[in-house]
């Protein structure tokens, strides 16, 4: 497992493919939070959703940054591409699903806070029949 992680890290570090999505990701985050009228809380859900897509792009870029011939040799070293592709697909799917869940949880949490605040503000009026 250590060897595989080391290989993935090396591939990611030695390819320029992730630079573009990484730059886009940083641009989005900095751009959103540097806008002075935006409260952090208000834009958090939007940022999470945007970063989810950008992170997926980043992961795909890292995986695609490995030249085909190099990937073939690495696959053979691992025992064949079929198993490797399945593992990669599982990993990619897992990363995307995790990001989506996280974004949804944050968004839901924010909505609950907003609903609760609204309910408290409107409390006396709605409490009386």
């Amino acid at each position: 497992m250590t060897g595989r992680l080391r290989y993935l890290r090396l591939t990611a570090a030695r390819t320029r493919a992730p630079l573009l999505p990484l730059a886009a990701c940083v641009f989005w985050v900095v751009g959103i939070y540097s806008y002075e009228h935006n409260e952090v809380g208000q834009t958090f859900g939007l940022t999470a959703l945007l970063c989810c897509a950008l992170d997926a792009w980043l992961v795909a870029a890292i995986l695609a940054g490995e030249p085909a011939a190099q990937a073939d040799m690495a696959s053979a070293a691992l025992g064949g591409d079929v198993r490797r592709a399945r593992r990669h697909a599982r990993r990619r799917r897992g990363a995307v699903v995790a990001q989506l869940r996280r974004a949804r949880r944050r968004d839901t949490g924010r909505r609950r806070v907003v609903d609760a605040t609204t309910a408290v503000a409107a409390g006396p009026a709605t409490a009386s029949p």
Binding site: L10, T15, R16, S75
Partner: protein, 282 residues
């Protein structure tokens, strides 16, 4: 359809009923083969006959349309055109591949030097290496992989005469120690350098088994070259037929006048390092 290779030896690769598809076309159907330990088998066939596609299926890089492939133990695959990430250092890659295989590191500097490459290339990024250097590096990694099987796609095509001699010697030595080798060789660079167990010829979508050329035939495929140099030196050498083109090219480039080229029969010295014009006698 079937190639049953060395059934008495333990199998390192077995394929049954394999159909190989390229694009929307089945290029090979019903391929069955069995490779025993220590066998050296050449996949032959015309362009587009499915050699590379079959190798990829046997290596598990492409799933077969039908049939099954079973490999025993670890193996290594080297594609025809080796490409590494441009910024990847050679030593880094060799080390990472070793890690992927779960093997201890080897003294790559010594191994690289033994292969005829300069040790300094280990510190260089892949972007500055030539096609032949990259190929030799990948072959070096595969040879040291410690597996039971090597699948090589045109391993001799990008190598210079010294590289071909090194690869031929390494494969011959390791196959005698039990390593099985399945390779394609459209360039004919392996001729006379490897003692083949069998040749599998791909023709009309089928895989036909052919007997490998006998050792006598291999020895008979020799070429005698006689040349003279304007400075008075002369050269009289007998080389394996596939190596004669390299020798002639080298001689002509060095300003030699080739007086005679003829086929000869009978044993000669075993193929060694590539021909050098400096070996001509004065």
């Amino acid at each position: 359809m079937a190639g049953s290779l060395s059934p008495q030896r333990p199998a390192v690769l077995e394929a049954a009923g394999v159909t190989v598809r390229r694009g929307r076309r089945d290029v090979l159907a019903g391929v069955a083969l069995r490779l025993g330990a220590g066998t050296v088998v050449q996949l032959a066939g015309a362009n587009g006959s499915g050699k590379t596609s079959l190798l990829r299926v046997l290596a598990g890089l492409t799933p077969p349309r039908t049939g099954s492939v079973r490999r025993a133990g670890a193996f290594a695959f080297v594609p025809e055109k080796v490409v590494l990430a441009p910024a990847l250092g050679c030593a880094e890659w060799l080390s990472a591949m070793r890690g992927l295989r779960g093997l201890e590191q080897v003294d790559w500097a010594a191994a690289v030097a033994a292969s005829g490459l300069e040790e300094e290339i280990l510190e260089r990024p892949a972007a500055v290496l030539s096609k032949g250097m990259l190929q030799r590096l990948a072959l070096l990694e595969a040879i040291h992989a410690g597996g039971a099987l090597l699948l090589l796609d045109e391993p001799f095509s990008g190598l210079d005469p010294e590289g071909r001699a090194w690869l031929g010697d390494e494969l011959a030595r390791r196959s005698s120690a039990g390593l099985a080798v399945l390779f394609t060789d459209h360039s004919g660079g392996a001729g006379g350098r490897l003692s083949l167990t069998e040749v599998l010829r791909l023709r009309d979508g089928a895989c036909e088994r052919e007997l490998a050329p006998a050792a006598d035939d291999t020895q008979a495929a020799q070429v005698a070259v006689r040349a003279s140099h304007p400075d008075g030196r002369s050269l009289d050498r007998v080389v394996p037929a596939p190596a004669s083109d390299d020798l002639l090219g080298e001689l002509l480039a060095a300003g030699w006048h080739v007086a005679e080229v003829r086929s000869v029969r009978g044993p000669t010295r075993p193929p060694g390092p590539g021909p050098h014009v400096s070996r001509g006698r004065a």
